[in-house]
């Protein structure tokens, strides 16, 4: 990535000394060339250079670092693998990046009771691998599961293809140890259900790092299904494929996963991986069914009927595990494949009522055509969770503008259909400006109050998740320093 020459932001010398005392000088990065590595996450369009990057190895170190930041009124941002797609890990206002990737131990694996206690830096897939021999896995499976961390999943309430049947991150997190923005450590929930009090665990998951830093996570482990059947259904158009999705759901079938891949993406995948996908198809559905082996054929038959009733050209089951893995490889590598088509792409994450899929997908295509841009779709159709990709060249400022306009229109279509702005990537900073379209100022004001209960000075990941207070004068509040000083995200072109 090329950069404008940029002066590294400075943090106060006293703070720098305290950070070094807390974690050791080798774990504090302040040099410009080191900081630039941390200027963005998976959403490369929004960038900001952090004031420092601090590698932590224990809850005690997190407490020391957070306390030092609080004393200096220095904002901080927790970061895992940096695979987020909404700019959630971008360090606005010189924030200190607290890098948790080295807190990567699985502390307890209670297979008998199907719970695990992990540190936030544990890579999602590693947890499933650790309990695979016992027939268990950790259910949320984002496409980046080979590199993303459980802590990051907690921040964004991440999903994945198989969360259609099993639920997203919040449905699998039982409790948290959290370092609050003033350095206090609290335990929220735990391995046992039914503790008295408000569900702070449920509130914390998906709060995008704005309530504090999770330093331990209690998660549920899920039994592996006895049998799995994966179907590939081929459709002449994206419209027919999305009608089939509605037909499947309307028949009362909730598959383990139900993914839609459109022609653009199929072709990109084929060009790269040569998996044998039908490049003439308008779209395909990848449908996974699981459960006891006894009922799978019946279920598969019904799904095939639903597909055929929606003008399906062909539908067949993967004949063995090898073919099944091939189908999933295509799905999981889809973003990478699209990356080969275009210098840049924008992944959107709107979520809509499932019955509105045909209507909204048509609008997305129209928006792309209007702005002269290619759009591609590969998404969790069963959840109504769209991931339209808008292809553009970030070296051409005018094309970036068109891409952003196209993106605005996509989100407008989502909102108009009764949808929401994010299904699993979070609001981060990229979608803040759309929040007033789905929430009233009163709703947002309530969210700010809750945020301030955790973080009265807006030190934890400021400028993310919910828009800054607008009416502070009227309400008689003083604007929190960090928030008032929030810079607009730097657009790189």
């Amino acid at each position: 990535m090329d950069h404008e020459p940029q002066q590294p932001p400075m943090i106060p010398a006293v703070l720098r000394a305290e950070l070094m005392a807390a974690v050791g000088p080798g774990n504090v990065k302040v040099a410009a060339e080191e900081l630039h590595v941390y200027e963005c996450d998976g959403l490369t369009i929004d960038t900001a250079v952090p004031g420092a990057v601090v590698f932590v190895h224990s809850t005690e170190q997190v407490v020391k670092v957070v306390k030092a930041c609080a004393a200096a009124q220095q904002p901080f941002v927790a970061r895992g693998a940096g695979t987020g797609l909404s700019g959630g890990a971008v360090a606005l206002n010189n924030a200190v990046v607290i890098e948790l990737a080295r807190m990567n131990r699985i502390l307890e694996l209670d297979l008998e009771n199907r719970v695990a206690l992990v540190e936030p830096g544990v890579v999602n897939l590693r947890l499933s691998e650790a309990c695979r021999s016992e027939g268990l896995h950790y259910a949320p499976d984002p496409s980046s599961q080979g590199s993303c961390t459980i802590g990051g999943n907690v921040a964004e309430n991440s999903g994945g293809p198989h969360t259609l049947k099993l639920g997203v991150t919040v449905n699998h997190v039982l409790g948290l140890e959290v370092v609050l923005p003033d350095g206090r450590v609290v335990n929220l929930g735990g391995p046992l259900p039914g503790l008295p009090g408000y569900d702070l665990t449920g509130l914390f998951v998906g709060s995008e790092g704005t309530f504090g830093i999770a330093t331990k996570v209690w998660v549920k482990l899920t039994p592996n299904p006895e049998a799995v059947k994966t179907l590939l259904a081929v459709f002449p158009s994206i419209d027919a494929a999305s009608r089939a999705v509605s037909a499947i759901i309307a028949r009362g079938i909730v598959p383990a996963a139900l993914e839609l891949i459109d022609q653009q993406v199929i072709r990109a995948v084929e060009e790269w991986l040569h998996l044998g996908f039908p490049t003439e198809a308008g779209a395909v559905l990848l449908i996974e069914l699981d459960g006891l082996r006894d009922g799978l054929d019946l279920l598969a038959g019904r799904v095939m009927d639903a597909c055929r009733s929606s003008d399906c050209l062909d539908v067949r089951a993967a004949k063995d595990d090898a073919e099944r893995l091939l189908l999933w490889k295509a799905r999981k590598q889809a973003f990478g494949a699209v990356g080969r088509l275009s210098p840049s792409y924008y992944v959107q994450d709107g979520v809509i009522p499932r019955s509105k899929l045909p209507e909204v997908l048509a609008k997305i295509q129209a928006a792309g055509r209007k702005h002269g841009l290619t759009t591609a779709n590969v998404f969790h159709a069963g959840d109504g969770n769209l991931h339209p990709l808008i292809l553009f060249d970030e070296r051409k400022p005018e094309e970036v503008e068109r891409a952003l306009k196209c993106n605005d229109e996509v989100l407008a279509a989502v909102v108009e259909a009764g949808g929401m702005l994010s299904g699993e990537h979070g609001i981060g900073m990229e979608k803040l400006k759309f929040m007033p379209q789905v929430f009233s100022e009163d709703d947002l004001e309530g969210m700010r109050r809750v945020r301030e209960a955790f973080d009265p000075n807006y030190l934890a990941n400021p400028g993310k998740a919910i828009p800054a207070r607008r009416c502070w004068e009227v309400k008689g509040h003083k604007p929190p320093e960090a928030e008032a000083a929030a810079l607009p995200p730097m657009r790189k072109a």
Binding site: N113, R114, V115, T163, G167, V170, N171, V186, N187, L192, P193, G194, P196, G197, Y198, L200, G202, L203, V205, G206, S207, E208, S246, I249, G252, I253, V254, G291, L292, D294, G295, D297, L299, V351, P353, R354, S355, H380, D383, G418, G419, M420, L421, S422, G423, E424, I427, K431, M435, V438, F439, S440, D443, E445, G446, M447, R449, V450, A453, A465
Partner: protein
């Protein structure tokens, strides 16, 4: 003592004099017969908001209630309060069967909602009394044995509209099945007893009705043998519910099978084989279910004030508690034995402890004061329950038992944070004050 005249006049003006009663005409609520100073039944969320705003001047405690089935949960209600009946907010707001999502007003009963969903072959897979309201179920986070197969309300709730303690209506979540747009404030209201806001509207993710339904009852010659067999079965096979009771004389466990016909056949076959293999004294039979919508009786009481034992007798417990246990599930039988002895020595008989297989060290316990026991040391029993780190919440106690300890146990460190949240969303402390954890 009566409530301020001016406040009652405001309430009458807002929701209509016909929907306000005060003094002797007020009907008691809940199993303990609590009688609020006045009771009103607003007709809309706007009216509720207006009542709460009017109360800013008077700070009269406002107690929302629905079917009254779980009104006794929590600390004792304040002596002088305005009860707020939610029953007039009983409309289905939006239901698109193709989306498997429904939005309803919070005063709609669970029975009314299920009836509407059944027409489309869908349901909210929750065990709850039909007369309970949706808002009441959410505020008390009600669940039953089907949580094994379908999760709890936390897994079903998609969005919420509430009136906070400042009299402002706010929504969170949405009508989509997956959502990270703004903070998940809807989660905060689950089990919060309405202390952060009056729930006025709720959106749920639904499930298709299962094609088959069967409740199987497994009998075993002794508790340890039955427990081990049930745990093994529930780990291997997908049951919608699997639960049993302690002391369980005789040992009986109920398994709900809700699946496609081939899956059902398989599960029933394995259940049968496992019982045959277990040997003498083990048996399994199908129970006459009252229909799929029925509670999984006799696995759980429909009301806290009446519990059916495994031998079929129905008794009235005097103390009901929900217990979350740090012990591993496999240690559960030994822990139960210990508890049984403990309680017995202190004048309480353990009627029944209900729990789920395979993994949950959590139970609902029902006690009755022994005949002739003079001064029951309720505090000592609760302390015993809470020893070794267990969190015990009293969900029902008979009026004749002294309320000498908190229903929620000694303060926990995270309650400070909860208090800050309470202040943020109900700054005047108007909503169900004093009834939740930490006295807020």
């Amino acid at each position: 003592m009566a409530l301020p005249e001016n406040f009652l006049a405001d309430v009458a003006r807002i929701c209509g004099a016909a929907h306000l009663v005060a003094g002797d005409e007020v009907r008691p609520i809940g199993g303990a017969g609590y009688r609020p100073a006045a009771s009103c039944a607003p007709g809309s969320a706007d009216e509720i908001a207006e009542i709460v705003r009017a109360d800013d001047e008077y700070a009269v405690p406002i107690l929302p209630f629905g079917g009254g089935t779980a009104f006794d949960y929590g600390e004792a209600p304040p002596a002088e309060a305005l009860a707020l009946s939610m029953r007039r907010l009983d409309k289905l707001v939006a239901y698109e069967p193709a989306d498997l999502v429904v939005t309803a007003q919070a005063g709609m009963t669970f029975g009314e909602l299920q009836a509407a969903l059944f027409e489309h072959g869908q349901w909210l897979p929750l065990d709850a009394p039909p007369e309970a309201t949706l808002g009441g179920l959410l505020a008390t986070d009600r669940s039953g044995p089907r949580r094994l197969g379908y999760g709890t309300l936390r897994d079903m709730l998609l969005g919420l509209t509430v009136v906070n303690g400042d009299g402002i209506a706010r929504k969170s979540g949405g009508r989509v099945v997956k959502n990270v747009t703004g903070y998940a404030l809807e989660k905060l209201h689950l089990g919060a007893l309405g202390t952060l806001g009056v729930i006025t509207e709720c959106t749920f993710k639904l499930r298709p009705r299962p094609e088959t339904h069967s409740v199987q009852e497994l009998e075993a010659p002794d508790f340890a043998g039955g427990f081990a067999l049930c745990r093994d079965l529930a780990k291997r096979l997908p049951f919608a519910a699997a639960s049993a009771g302690f002391p369980g004389k005789p040992f009986r466990a109920q398994f709900a099978v809700e699946a496609s016909p081939p899956d059902q056949a398989r599960v029933l076959r394995e259940l049968q084989e496992a019982v045959e293999k277990a040997g003498a004294g083990f048996a399994v039979k199908e129970l006459e279910a009252e229909g799929i919508e029925a509670d999984l009786a006799p696995a759980r009481p429909r009301r806290l004030q009446a519990v059916t034992l495994t031998d079929g007798r129905t008794v009235e417990p005097e103390l009901a508690a929900r217990l979350a246990w740090p012990a591993r599930a496999q240690d559960f039988p030994a822990q139960m034995q210990k508890l049984d002895v403990w309680a017995g020595e202190r004048g309480f008989g353990l009627l029944m402890a209900f729990f789920d297989f395979p993994t949950r060290a959590v139970a609902e316990l029902y006690f009755k004061l022994d005949d002739g026991a003079a001064a029951p040391d309720l505090g000592a029993v609760l302390d015993a329950l809470r020893s070794e780190g267990a969190a015990a919440t009293v969900v029902w106690q008979a009026p004749r038992l002294p309320r000498e300890r908190s229903a929620f146990g000694p303060p926990r460190e995270e309650w400070d944070l909860m208090r800050t949240l309470k202040l943020a969303l109900d700054p005047r402390g108007l909503l169900n004050p004093g009834r939740f954890v930490g006295g807020f």
